[in-house]
Symmetry: C2
Subunit: 138 residues, 2 copies
DNA sequence: AACACAATGCAACAATGTTGCAAAATACTT
DNA sequence: AAGTATTTTGCAACATTGTTGCATTGTGTT
């Protein structure tokens, strides 16, 4: 990882609190995406549910993490490894979601192909979510 | 539309009920995807919330409609126009979601490009969701 | 150390989704 | 067409997920 937990928070003008440190650390340690429920489990009763919601929201706004669209109505979050800044996300990589274990991965090295749309549609972002089986479930 | 409401239900071995007829008709009339909330609004107090949930679930299982992944945690449903059968969906077209009005469209004629993944991932389905502004919001 | 400000926890609420079961509607049989 | 078996619906109750206001606590700054 390029920056430590504290550095990342400071760079984004966020005050350094226990919950932010701990939650950001979870993302940095994890090689897959995390849902709100995952964080709630892994942090035990340490933080309030509301705090986790608000922390995730703040991180998304600051461009520290991004949300991943899923078919199953779960909101997945993952670290932004590209140069995302406040209000501007640039995570144009492919996401993979395992049908068996539910784990969601960011495939940082697989880029999203350009797709031409019919007239009338103005493209802002393209999300690609591939589902199937991951290496642990084959 | 290729088949009528009743025909579609019969072809899928579903008994013909008011709620199924009405909800399927909503999808056939609509040129965009519908969320549970949309159906609840458009059908008024005619059906119970639970009935709508169960009907949507049944339609998905039968391959009549498919779910569309979204970034904003809303579950969108749209008619399957390809040859989907029970348990096997083949909706490999691109979806577009308007950031302004929230409307989700199936771009049936824009096909999903093949994407090569690293070893270890077994692909079942590829979903592409493009967001931006639709013709009504530009 | 003291102050201003921001973040947290709690409580209460709202929205969304699920389950069991009796009543009603549908499909099937004769 | 009427009766029966089966499926579907509506209701109630519950579970989960997400939101908001406000007092308390913690953080950053002087």
């Amino acid at each position: 990882m390029l920056f430590g937990v504290k550095e990342t928070l400071k760079r984004n003008q966020l005050s350094i609190t226990d919950s932010r440190k701990k939650i950001l650390e979870l993302f940095m340690r994890s090689n897959s995406a995390l849902a709100h429920a995952d964080i709630e489990k892994q942090s035990g009763t340490e933080f309030d549910r509301v705090t986790i919601y608000r922390t995730l929201q703040t991180f998304v706004e600051k461009g520290i993490i991004h949300t991943i669209p899923t078919t199953d109505n779960s909101v997945q979050y993952a670290l932004c490894k590209d140069a995302c800044t406040e209000g501007h996300h640039h995570d144009n990589h492919v996401h993979f979601m395992c049908d068996d274990c539910g784990t969601t991965y960011c495939l940082d090295h697989v880029t999203v192909p350009a797709i031409t749309l019919p007239k009338g549609f103005k493209v802002t972002q393209t999300d690609v979510v591939i589902s199937g089986k991951c290496m642990n479930c084959v």
